[in-house]
């Protein structure tokens, strides 16, 4: 269904202390790919033919695999459709989603590092089972008795 010649955008989100968005931009220029690049506060947005964008995205991720996260983006880089300046100011809903996810990225990096090292965390069900009504009744009776 997807045509390799479709034009798409991808958002490259970087959270790293030793790789900067500008390093990624240089890498893209070196690759001589026929794509548009825009630097942003969280990384880059790239746009071009699907096959090219995918190729470049893969190369970029390989620079620092566990600290670079990528998703497709609907809106082209610099589009006035989503720009605050031309759309009445105020962040659009997707930005808030991005804010929340961005804050969690260090955790995911940690998890990916573990996978790379071949470690497996102990997967246990973190939700405790519901209190039974009998048990709850016992607790209430005990608490009431104690407070008397």
């Amino acid at each position: 269904m997807n045509d390799d010649n479709d034009i798409i955008s991808k958002m490259i989100v970087l959270h790293s202390t030793f790789t900067l968005p500008s390093d990624l931009v240089i890498k893209i220029y070196e690759s001589k790919a026929d794509i548009t690049v825009k630097e942003t506060c969280f990384g880059l947005i790239i746009e071009g033919k699907r096959s090219e964008v995918n190729r470049v995205a893969r190369e970029i991720r390989n620079l620092d695999p566990n600290r670079i996260f990528i998703k497709e983006r609907g809106v082209p880089p610099g589009s006035s459709n989503r720009c605050r300046a031309s759309q009445g100011g105020g962040a659009k809903p997707g930005f808030h989603q991005h804010e929340v996810e961005f804050a969690l990225l260090p955790y995911f990096t940690e998890a990916l590092d573990e996978i790379e090292r071949g470690e497996m965390p102990e997967i246990k069900d973190v939700t405790p089972p519901h209190l039974t009504i009998e048990k709850f009744k016992d607790i209430i009776e005990k608490e009431v008795k104690e407070s008397e």
Binding site: M1, N2, I7, I8, S9, M11, V13, N54, R55, A57, R58, R61, F69, I70, K71, E72, R73, G74, V75, P76, S79, S80, N81, R82, Q87, K92, P93, G94, H96, Q97, H98, V100, E101, F102, L104, L105, Y107, F108, E110, A111, L112, E114, I115, M120, P121, I123, V126, T127
Partner: protein, 154 residues
């Protein structure tokens, strides 16, 4: 490679993990991208026109609000393509195209009703939960036929 419907559909981390572990994420952004790049449509900001909620009637009746039907007109076709799904339960991050609880209820149901391989899990809030989250997703994706773990973006 398996087409994996993700919920929330616009999540960076879900989209990334599915792709990273060798499958194709089915996400809202690609549908919005098509809309925005369709010449002749002039309905900023995301080029959904009043025609789209009518197309959404395929998934929800006219008594369902137009915002739900408009979203369904984008998400419905993705659901039809889905060969597997990952649902994050009660994410507090679902804004924008995932900002409507009624739409979210409907798409979660439709993914479950499809009876495709499905992983449901809670959104992580701590480091430990995040690790488990990633491992569970990886395990699930590796178990899908045709996985090409570690390649990504193909």
């Amino acid at each position: 490679m398996v087409k994996v419907f993700i919920y929330p559909s616009n999540s960076l981390i879900l989209s990334d993990l599915v792709d990273r572990f060798g499958h194709e994420p089915l996400a809202m952004m690609q549908e919005i991208g098509k809309k925005i790049r369709t010449a002749g449509l002039d309905s900023p900001p995301i080029n959904i026109t009043p025609e789209d909620p009518k197309l959404g009637l395929k998934y929800a009746a006219v008594e369902v609000p137009s915002g739900v039907r408009g979203r369904m007109s984008l998400l419905g076709p993705l659901l039809e393509e889905a060969e597997a799904g990952i649902i994050v339960r009660e994410p507090d991050i679902a804004f924008g195209c995932m900002g409507c609880a009624r739409t979210n209820e409907l798409i979660n149901f439709l993914v479950r009703a499809k009876k495709v391989p499905l992983l449901e899990l809670d959104y992580p809030n701590t480091e430990d939960e995040a690790k488990i989250f990633v491992h569970k997703i990886r395990e699930f994706l590796d178990g899908l036929s045709g996985a090409q773990s570690g390649k990504g973006d193909e």
